[in-house]
Amino acid sequence: MGLRPLLYCALLALLAACGAAPVAPPASPVAEAPATPAAPPATTAPATPAAPPATTAPATPASAVTLTVFAPAGLTEAVKQLAADFEKTHAGVRVELELGHSPAQREQLEQGATPDVFISASRKDMDAVAEKQLVVADQVRPFARNQLVVILPPDNPGKIETLADLARPGVQVLIAAADLPIGNATLTMLEKLNASIAPDFKERVLANVVSTELGVKPIVSKISLGEADAGVVYVSDAVAAPNLKTLEIPQEANVAVVFTIAPVTAAAHPGEAADFVALVLSPAGQNVLSTHGLLPAQP
């Protein structure tokens, strides 16, 4: 009983402290320190020793813009870097990435989601939303290509030296579900390899598939954990996981996935959306993409 009023007071004080912080506008990031009432008045700077005092100031909170970008999870690293670069040149803009599967994101767009930019790993999904004018159809641009590569755990438990070894009985292979752009590309690639390896190569590899994963990243994770002997992923995924061994797929059998980008018709921030698309297509943006193992859109 006796404790209760005290508790209420503490709660109220907390609420007041929380409420007070955003109200005081002039000293934005550093102002959080004085909110704790006990802080001595003049020593605000040392309270947050690591924070460089003025660099974050130019952000204008009043006109803060959040640019939402739907992007395939396979492009995670590259898109994150592009987003960071964009935020650097656009003060007050925060890029929020929604990383997922293109078919699922297409579905979300069709169900009324309105990000500002849509990046698709498959032409099919981009065309579907362009046809419904959910993205600006005449601004759809291919901007990068990704190719397939085989990844192996660092200790290569399956003793896989050549692509032909993937068909050896007992080897555990992970590929992506056929409904995903990469899964589809994997099947085409295996089919093409029939010509150079063996007529039943694809069939035998598919018999070794222990799981058709619902994304590229789960394949990378499970190969990193050594749960399977080999997995088929994008080159960019292999670049992002340098500890894994890779097995190149010959150019004539490899399948390119072309990424496309477009501003969303109902974008809340069409100006910034156009700027973001421009950055991705610019030489600087293309440079970022190539450091992540992506190839230019046109071979």
């Binding site: 599967h101 078919p103 699922a104 579905e107 438990p157 555990q172 992970l174 579900a177 409904d179 995903l180 598939v209 222990v210 799981s211 058709t212 994963e213 619902l214 789960p218 499970k222 954990l225 050594g226 749960e227 399977a228």
Partner: protein, 274 residues
């Protein structure tokens, strides 16, 4: 005096207010649960969509889901009952920790549960190498589906059964002891029958949770038709291709679950209150 006034029959204005308040609050929740399910069923039934229910891969998913969730429920009952009984009947050092451990899987996002299972029973997991020496490789097998289901669903059963056993009046236990019942007879003829209702409802919960399991399964067991692709996984794969497939599969999932739940309730309908 006051009590007689309180009990006097007749119109009670506070009663109607209570009824309305309760009905209103309850109605909100019923709406929150019912409207989305209704929307799902309505769209699946009325949407002009191709019918995918003939797809053999769907039949494999249904069969696998029924088999794995039933085995999981059986395993949970076999190992969960002794644990629940022990926790309800005796106190011992470390009991509170075991109780905490049983509750924790409930807060764990199933995806993390799947990762935890991989880290324990995966090929390079803590127990993976000893298991491998015995020739057992769990990931990507139907057994892994069952392990994942047991992991996420067992806590529901153990909690319910423990509460059921603990609710048996100590006087009844003592009476049985006075009559000369030994530990086995006490369990078999007193505790088990009296806790039956709680055990049964725990089993229903656990089965339902196992049947709908997705996150831990996709990580630990993977997604392979006929081997590890249960209905929830097939729904997710379907969603990637076509909303119609996902909706129809969800309808199948709901229909089967309703049937089984109704059946289970019917079987346990006239069990005595524990």
């Amino acid at each position: 005096m006051n009590r007689t006034a309180y009990r006097r029959p007749g119109p009670d204005p506070t009663r109607t207010r209570w009824v309305w308040a309760f009905a209103g609050a309850g109605g909100l929740l019923v709406g929150l649960l019912g409207i989305p399910l209704g929307a799902l069923i309505w769209t699946a039934l009325t949407g002009a969509m191709e019918v995918y229910l003939r797809d053999p891969s769907l039949h494999r998913a249904v069969r696998l889901s029924l088999v794995t969730s039933s085995i999981s429920a059986g395993v949970i009952m076999l190992v969960g009952t002794p644990l629940a009984y022990t926790l309800a009947r005796w106190s011992f050092r470390g009991k509170a920790w075991i109780e905490l451990l049983i509750d924790l899987p409930l807060v764990l996002p199933p995806l993390i549960a799947g990762i935890a299972l991989l880290l324990a029973f995966g090929c390079n997991g803590i127990l993976g190498r000893p298991l491998d020496a015995l020739g057992i490789r769990l990931p990507f097998t139907t057994a892994a589906v069952i392990v994942a289901q047991v992991f996420v669903a067992a806590p529901l059963y153990v909690r319910a059964a423990r509460i059921g056993f603990a609710a048996v009046e100590p006087e009844l236990r003592e009476a049985a002891a006075v009559e000369g019942a030994d530990e086995t007879q006490l369990f078999r003829y007193v505790m088990l029958p009296l806790a039956r209702r709680a055990i049964w409802s725990g089993l229903i919960l656990a089965w339902a949770r196992a049947f709908g399991e997705f996150g831990a399964t996709i990580i630990f067991a993977g997604n392979r038709e006929g081997r590890t692709q249960t209905i929830p996984l097939a729904i997710f794969v379907g969603f990637e291709t076509n909303l119609g497939i996902a909706l129809q599969l969800s309808l199948v999932l709901l229909a089967i679950a309703s049937l089984v739940l109704i059946l289970l309730r019917w079987i346990g309908r006239d069990t005595p209150v524990g």
